[in-house]
Amino acid sequence: MRIQRSCLLCYAREMTANDDNIIEIRDLWFARGATPIFKGLNADIKRGHVTALMGPSGTGKTTLLRLITRQLRPDSGRILVDGVDIADLSKSDLYKLRKRFGMLFQNGALLTDLTVFENVAFPLREHTSLSNRLIRHVVLTKLHAVGLRGAADMLPRELSGGMARRVALARAMATDPDILIYDEPFVGLDPISMGVIVRLVRRMNDALGITSIIVSHDVDEVSTVADISYLLSDGTVAASGSPAELNRASSELVRQFMHGMADGPVAFHYQAPDYAEQLLGRDSE
């Protein structure tokens, strides 16, 4: 009887959790060739929050984004978006789902043969039958939101890295997605552009009620913008919580990562044979 009741409780808890979570990742396994990337990863993305996926390079943060958007398929485990397992979707359903996503790629991934204006207009022209007048209106609004209305007629090659990323953000927002995904939005930006992007992420999230997912290893920037952070390591979630909680965490790994210490659980050296032996050893090869 007691067991039954506790199960009911779990069930009830799961129900409420389901409503809060827009994306749920359950027991995710994924390998690239013989190298395992994820070994039973579990994570929830809360609706309306800014969630950060952090971790040292090579822990598969970008891979996780590609799994969430089904650009890649997991070896096993489930990824649920609003309770629907995305592995089961047909191509047309997948495309329907993807219209709810906006993704900001690391380098912007603007279409190089189109102007800034046409880049932002691209998803609108593809998916809506809006009149040119209306499209112009929407595009200019989105460009204005990222401060680049004046660059509408420029080509992607004329933009700086920070500008390209802002255009890409405007494009990702063009169709008013529910979920915005940022892949390393802070890499290679000068402090001013970085501040601009950080503020934009927060503003989009709060003003439009979007759910945001940020992949990054810039601890300081993420701390200012994220509600919840997941620290990935060795194929699973090593720690999760608000930036303040992570900062206080006692785990060696979390402390090493959050405070940028050179050596710790994540070794400075990549796996290698013994140094002295390799230097002094005969030239066997």
Binding site: Q71, K99, F101, F105, F122
Partner: protein
Amino acid sequence: MLREAYVSLVVFVRTFGALTLFLLELIVQVPRVFVRRFPLIVAQVYNAGSLSLVIIMVCGAFVGGVLALQGYANLTRFNAEDAVGIFAGFALIKELGPVITALLFAGRAGTALASEIGLMKATDQLAAMEMMAVDPVRRVVVPRFLGGVIAMPLLVAVFSMIGLLGAHMVGVMLLNIDVGAFWQQMQSTLGLRDVMEGILKSIVFGIIASLLAVWEGYNAIPTAEGVSRATTRTVVLTAIAVLISDFMITAWFLR
């Protein structure tokens, strides 16, 4: 040794199968793309055609000229220099027009297509389209494929025409072959069947050259090295495939 041969045979059969499926996928998409993205196709015909037009006109003129020279040098031994027109016409319309155009197309437009698509892949543009729920095959690959397929017969026609003019210039104006004999003999000997052979070849080569270019670009390893390899392979594979299929079509027409 035997094992290696077996492995490469398996790889070949697999690649060929994947290529065939890719072609079928493109063909299935063609009507839809034709209706919904017609301006893109026009742009790609212009792109592939205009890229190759100058090189094809220059080469056509000189190939025609060489044919007239060689034809004259050999036919004059039999006092048959009037037949230079027939010789140049047959060679250009049935063989050299389609084949050389296809090879030039691969070198000029094919490489551009492969590297463009490869670079779009390397810079995540294709992935970005996927994420915007736009099928890159429909948006990027099919229009480029169709552009090449439509442009090739037009380019072949231009090549053969300029080639005949080149032969006329060298044969009639330089070597003083009788202009009436030159054109009249060509006209009476070259039949519809010969022209059809040239047209069929131009269509087949257009499909081969465009398919291999978009295939190599779409499947390029998304790095600088991968894109450069894809570009090279486009030219090499197109040359081989065009020459093999040329032999087969010729044999079929002579049966």
